[in-house]
């Protein structure tokens, strides 16, 4: 079965009913999508399917045949963070980091669909995502800043050495 993942055409061998989450993590070794509750309740596995946020744990591979998938790995690189990643870094919106990739992808879709700096609308857009550290205020701050198009100089973000990667599998 064929997919485009983060802009690269991939042929995958997982079975047609395999949840996209496990295709990404186990076959393609992209661990940005987190295996949290694995029943649609936490949002840690959210990826973009043709630009729309979807729980990859609920999505069988056959339902996304031929689709373009974006995972956290497709947002930016450690050297060149995407604006939403810069905003999360600047606003300390990641604590343990487990919910972060799902939240950033939901936030990216919100902004791509014209979402603005409106806290209620942001909360609505992110409402399927659970942060076990309960750091919601800073997460909403970060999404609001990214929606405004704020620019950040992360070299002077106090106490920050930029977002680390690869810590949470």
């Amino acid at each position: 079965m064929n997919l485009t993942v983060n802009g690269v055409a991939r042929e995958v061998e997982s079975g047609p009913l395999t949840p996209l989450l496990f295709v990404l993590r186990d076959e393609l070794e992209l661990t940005g999508a987190k295996a949290g509750c694995q029943q649609g309740g936490c949002g840690a596995c959210t990826v973009l399917v043709d630009g729309e946020p979807r729980r990859s744990c609920l999505t069988p591979l056959i339902a996304v045949e031929g689709a373009a998938i974006t995972t956290a790995e497709g947002l930016g690189t450690p050297e060149d963070l995407a604006p939403i990643q810069q905003a999360f870094t600047h606003h300390y919106a990641a604590q343990c980091g487990f919910c972060t990739s799902g939240l950033m992808l939901a936030a990216q879709a919100y902004i791509d669909h014209g979402g603005i700096d409106d806290r209620h609308a942001i909360q609505e857009a992110l409402s399927g995502h659970v942060c076990r550290c309960t750091g919601y205020v800073k997460i909403v701050d970060a999404v609001a800043a990214a929606a405004r198009g704020d620019e950040f100089d992360l070299t002077v973000t106090a106490g920050s050495s930029g977002m680390t990667t690869g810590g949470v599998r």
Partner: protein
């Protein structure tokens, strides 16, 4: 373990043929219920019928009749008028609403911890009819008659007459992941008939005939509704709490209906 037979019909007729009499077939609409059941090993299907490309999605209107295909997403209902629109908006979060389908909402089995089928109350209040396939061919049934046999049928679409007025009131959920703990839907038909139904007051949506009989007196109707339900103690709410809230929601729905000329 033998490989699972995966059926991917590309038209409604193919879906009906693939479902047959339904023996051994698990229907997968959006996957929000079926996929985790498989992930956790609670469901080990031999045959899975995937509806995603079956052409069963979409909302159409003919005069005052609204018809909603079974594979239509819950998100696509959010813009409809009350009670169905606000009822759909109260389901889960935007990502789940975009994935979950109307057919799944009507046909899913009881959840392990709480009732499923958030939309059933609104569709009962609308007097909806379900067209379905299975043993004996295609049939149309009032939703009340369909629900008890929903596990053995392939829902094709659900239709109803636009009401003259509609209303919806719900108990707020502690988290978007939760199913509806309790909600009441009401609709007034063009001839003045009022229908009321509840979600979360039994293992599927229930009409509230005792409350309907007293619809002219919202306070009395609210208390009468308690005779129509079997309130559950479950993970979402205690039976005691549901019993306190149900009369309030019935009253609110009837007051809203009165305010709509």
């Amino acid at each position: 373990m033998p490989p699972i037979d995966v059926l991917t019909p590309t038209s409604p007729d193919e879906a009906v043929a693939a479902f047959g009499d339904g023996t051994g077939v698990v229907v997968l609409g959006g996957g929000t219920i079926v996929v985790p059941e498989m992930t956790y090993g609670r469901l080990k299907p031999e045959r899975v019928l995937i509806l995603g490309r079956s052409g069963l999605a979409g909302i159409s209107r003919s005069g005052s009749t609204v018809t909603i295909g079974a594979a239509t997403s819950v998100a696509d209902l959010v813009g409809l008028s009350a009670p169905l629109g606000p009822c759909a908006a109260n389901v889960a979060d935007a990502e789940i609403r975009a994935q979950g389908t109307v057919g799944g909402n009507l046909c899913a089995g009881e959840g392990p911890e709480a009732p499923r089928g958030d939309l059933q109350g609104a569709l009962l209040a609308l007097g909806a009819t379900v067209r379905s396939a299975g043993a004996g061919g295609i049939s149309s049934d009032p939703l009340e008659d369909f629900l008890p046999k929903r596990r053995s049928r392939l829902a094709l679409d659900v239709s109803f007459e636009e009401p003259a007025a509609g209303a919806f009131a719900n108990l707020d959920r502690p988290h978007t992941h939760d199913y509806t703990a309790l909600a009441v839907s009401g609709a007034r038909a063009a001839d003045g008939t009022i229908r009321l139904a509840a979600t979360g007051a039994g293992w599927w949506g229930l009409r509230l005939p005792s409350a309907e009989a007293k619809a002219g007196d919202p306070e009395a109707a609210g208390h009468a509704a308690l005779a129509d339900v079997q309130l559950a103690d479950d993970a979402l709410a205690s039976a005691w709490y549901r019993g306190k809230v149900l009369p309030v929601l019935v009253r609110r729905v009837l007051v809203q209906l009165k305010e709509i000329a």
